[in-house]
């Protein structure tokens, strides 16, 4: 802290990707607009993922029309847990997580109890387009709740920790773990106060952690040290992310992956305009890695595994490798 501004020269030296540069040189150049609906609509993404065999939380049912809401309790009657979300929502808006039942009432992940009328109202808001981009009519997606992995116990407040991986032309280039906090109200968005944790590309080990663009050492709510976070099964997670490129066809995407206790890594959603905070969480700029992938002349499409191996080798953290040996 103490420094209010940073010199542009210093940012450039660190290879930080700015928003203008991201929009002009990566999103506009590598992301075909035609394919945007596939990522902007979570239902389409989910159906596509099922088609390609990419693991994703199971779809329970979809509500498309206002009249279906009036007898929604029939469909919810034997469901203990579920996640209700707008198909076209953005930034985690409009997501309702039900973690249990108490009689006729539903228990939200925050512990608040709601009744079926609240759910009806929420659904009707979603259908009217309250949470969708541009206020266009939307559909409600009801899917399985992730039984989130015990390895994150004590690291996340309310929400599910998810792993954001930037995939550029099929190569995973940067990753971070997002931990919801009390300040972020259980949401995993960094600007709302979630903790961003940069992950080493080669090992899934914690590099650096930030909250509100400030470096932190421990979780603000649980005080657990963040440095010793190490994601198990890292290569599989990266492969899942890399597969998303093959599935969706967009050149520059952010993949949001959650770890299910029983089912392993699951694709939660894709983002065609992934944010830039991942760089702060990693303490590294994206630009050198993106330029490197751009410079790869390989025309023949390599399988996802090979691309992941290449990225794990190429974007390895030198000090981390040294540390690993020392340990």
């Amino acid at each position: 802290m103490g420094i209010a501004w940073i010199k542009p020269a210093r940012l450039r030296q660190q290879g930080m990707l700015g928003m203008n540069c991201r929009n002009v040189e990566f999103i506009n150049r590598y992301n075909d607009r035609r394919l945007y609906p596939l990522v902007d609509n979570k239902l389409k993404t989910k159906l596509l993922a099922q088609e390609y065999g990419v693991p994703t939380p199971r779809l329970q049912f979809v509500v498309r029309e206002q009249h279906e809401i009036s007898h929604i309790e029939r469909q919810l009657v034997d469901r203990e847990t579920f996640v209700l979300k707008p198909a076209k929502g953005s930034g985690g808006k409009g997501i309702l997580v039900v973690v249990g039942r108490r009689g006729d009432r539903f228990i939200k992940n925050s512990g608040v109890e709601i009744d079926v009328a609240d759910i009806r109202r929420h659904m009707s808001n979603i259908l009217a387009g309250l949470y969708s981009l541009g206020g266009t009519p939307d559909v409600v997606v009801i899917e399985d709740l992730i039984a989130f992995d015990e390895c994150f116990a004590g690291y996340s407040h309310e929400g599910v920790p998810d792993i954001r991986i930037i995939v550029f032309r099929g190569y995973p280039v940067m990753a971070m773990l997002r931990l919801a906090t009390h300040a972020s109200d259980g949401k995993a968005n960094l600007h709302q106060g979630a903790v961003g944790l940069g992950l080493a590309m080669d090992s899934g080990r914690c590099l650096n952690a930030v909250q509100f663009s400030r470096r932190i050492k421990s979780h603000p709510d649980t005080a657990r040290p963040l440095n010793d976070i190490h994601i198990a099964g890292w290569r599989d997670i990266l492969i899942l992310a890399a597969q998303c490129h093959d599935m969706i066809g967009l050149g520059y995407i952010g993949t949001d992956i959650v770890l299910d206790q029983h089912l392993g890594p699951q694709l939660l959603e894709l983002n065609a305009r992934p944010g830039l905070s991942i760089q702060i969480a990693n303490g590294r700029g994206l630009l050198p890695r993106l330029r490197h992938v751009e410079s790869l002349q390989e025309r023949r499409q390599m399988p996802a595994e090979q691309r992941v191996d290449y990225a794990m080798r190429k974007f390895a953290e030198p000090d981390a490798a040294a540390q690993g040996r020392a340990l």
């Binding site: 420094i3 209010a4 501004w5 940073i6 010199k7 542009p8 210093r10 940012l11 660190q14 930080m16 700015g18 928003m19 203008n20 540069c21 002009v24 040189e25 206002q66 808006k93 009328a117 009806r120 109202r121 009707s124 808001n125 009217a128 387009g129 309250l130 206020g135 709302q192 930030v210 663009s213 400030r214 470096r215 830039l276 760089q279 702060i280 303490g283 700029g285």
Partner: protein, 504 residues
């Protein structure tokens, strides 16, 4: 890289072209680059009234010359339905001629002209002297005139001083029986003065002048006298004895025959009304450069009503450029991409402070109402429609309260686009629920800052003048916007956002 170079070359060329066209337009039409160089223009209307006898009518009105001392005529029209109209030149006198085969009853003919104050010299002062009108006096008058002249000549040395002395004597009839006798007989002092001077061998001619005063109706021509000093003609006011042409005197008629001739009608009469317009120099050049391609392709050729619309439309690129700059270079967050422009357009009509206060209070009240609405569990469209109705009520209430308290500023809010306000409230309220009041302040404040900056630029007279009179300069803005569209550097806000990168 070369594509980038081409792009930038095209942009520079575009901007240069626009500036070149603007310069050409400036040279061709004389529209100044800076506003405020305004001249006053007099719109004078002559109205000829008469009663037609039923047969052919021929009305002829003397018109002023195009170049007058102190004035320049640059536009004239006539409005007289059913009449043939032409402007003819007779013995050096410009005359308007109205003709009609058959007319009966009250007739009104109009001629209007616009005069610009100018510093043209009086060319007519060097006119030659005509020998004219023999004078007939009866014996008593002859005697009286001789005595008056004699008294005046005693105290004068030149035609000017003689005229002045005569005017003095005539103005004071009680002091002298002779002047009283002469005055009782003659209709106007000007005519009397002319006859006296004629008798003294000094050439004179009659002049009809019109004193210009703003917003006067039913004015008549003022008879004036010009005397020849031997070298040039000099104007005298027969009432006051002042010499020279006053700055507000328009010499309508000079020498020649009568001011108004009507055949086929009786009780003819001419009266004048006038109004002073402060129009900018650009309107003058518009009329003057009317044949040029630039003025033909200019917005100024449109009817006044459409012009005022274009005045607003042509300001929009400025607002758009501000929004692009604030979002791309500065990185300010706004609620809705171009909503700030709409707000700033509304500010243009309400002026800044009242507009700002009304906008903030309406949105504030709307947010409170919206928080009650959210409990009703309405469908989104119905909720926004409800909000629109409520916003209209809030605005009406504010206007009425404002009016009762003696402020007319309450009214100004009505200019704000209702739908925009309703949507703003809805968006802000969702933002409030989802992200908290902090984000509402950031985005709402950002929008207002952008709107205020756009407003300040848009109401700057220079920019207003340039965008309207030189529409091609908007291409410079276009080039700027395009250039910013390719800007891939950091935003100012990112220098703060990424500050954590410094302590690594």
């Amino acid at each position: 890289m070369s594509a980038r170079l081409t792009f930038h070359t095209v942009l520079v060329l575009l901007a240069l072209c626009a500036i070149l066209v603007a310069i050409l337009r400036h040279m061709e039409t004389g529209i100044p680059f800076f506003p405020g160089q305004e001249k006053s223009v007099w719109l004078v209307e002559a109205r000829v009234d008469f009663v037609a006898k039923g047969g052919a009518v021929d009305a002829s009105l003397s018109l002023p010359d195009k170049q007058l001392p102190g004035f320049e005529l640059y536009e004239e029209q006539s409005a007289s339905p059913g009449y043939g109209f032409s402007i003819v030149r007779e013995n050096g006198d410009r005359r308007a001629e109205w003709t009609k085969r058959e007319a009966r009853g009250e007739q009104s003919l109009y001629y209007s002209a616009q005069f610009v104050a100018s510093d043209t010299a009086d060319s007519a002062t060097a006119d030659p002297v005509y020998e004219d009108h023999p004078i007939y006096w009866d014996d008593a008058q002859e005697l009286a005139a001789g005595q008056v002249l004699g008294r005046a000549q005693e105290t004068s040395s030149s035609p000017q001083s003689l005229s002045r002395e005569l005017i003095k004597l005539l103005n004071n009839p009680s002091s002298d029986q002779n002047t009283a006798l002469l005055r009782s007989d003659q209709t106007s002092q000007a005519q009397l003065l002319m006859r006296l001077l004629d008798r003294a061998g000094i050439a004179t001619r009659s002049v009809m002048g019109l004193y210009l005063e703003d917003a006067r109706r039913r004015q008549v021509l003022m008879p004036m006298v010009e005397i020849h000093t031997g070298e040039r003609w000099l104007l005298f006011n027969p009432k006051t004895g002042e010499t020279g042409v006053p700055i507000n005197l328009l010499l309508w008629h000079r020498g020649g025959v009568s001011v108004l001739d009507v055949t086929g009608g009786r009780r003819s009469h001419v009266s004048f009304s006038m109004i002073r317009q402060t129009i900018s120099a650009r309107q003058l050049s518009m009329a003057k450069g009317s044949e040029s391609i630039f003025s033909r392709l200019g917005v100024l050729r449109l009817p006044i009503e459409e012009q005022s619309m274009f005045k607003l439309l042509l300001l929009l690129p400025l607002g758009a450029a501000v929004v692009v700059f604030m979002r791309v270079i500065i990185g300010l967050q706004t609620a809705g991409t171009f909503m700030p422009i709409l707000i700033s357009l509304a500010f243009l009509q309400t002026s800044l402070l009242p507009g700002l206060i009304s906008f903030v209070s309406v949105v504030g009240i709307g947010l409170v109402l919206r928080s009650y609405l959210s409990r009703l569990n309405l469908l989104l469209v119905a909720r926004i429609a409800t909000l629109i109705v409520l916003v209209i009520f809030v605005i009406s209430a504010l206007s009425i309260i404002g009016y009762q308290m003696g402020y007319s500023t309450g009214m100004t809010i009505t200019f704000f686009p209702m739908i925009i306000i309703a949507w703003t409230i809805e968006r802000m309220s969702i933002l409030w629920e989802e992200e908290g009041p902090h984000e509402v302040l950031i985005q709402g404040g950002g929008s207002l800052v952008v709107a205020v900056i756009a407003y300040l630029l848009m109401q700057w007279p220079l920019l207003k003048h340039l965008t309207f009179n030189f529409p091609e300069l908007n291409l410079v803005l276009l080039a700027l916007i395009l250039a910013m569209g390719k800007y891939t550097g950091y935003k100012l806000s990112e220098l703060r956002r990424f500050r954590a990168m410094d302590d690594l």
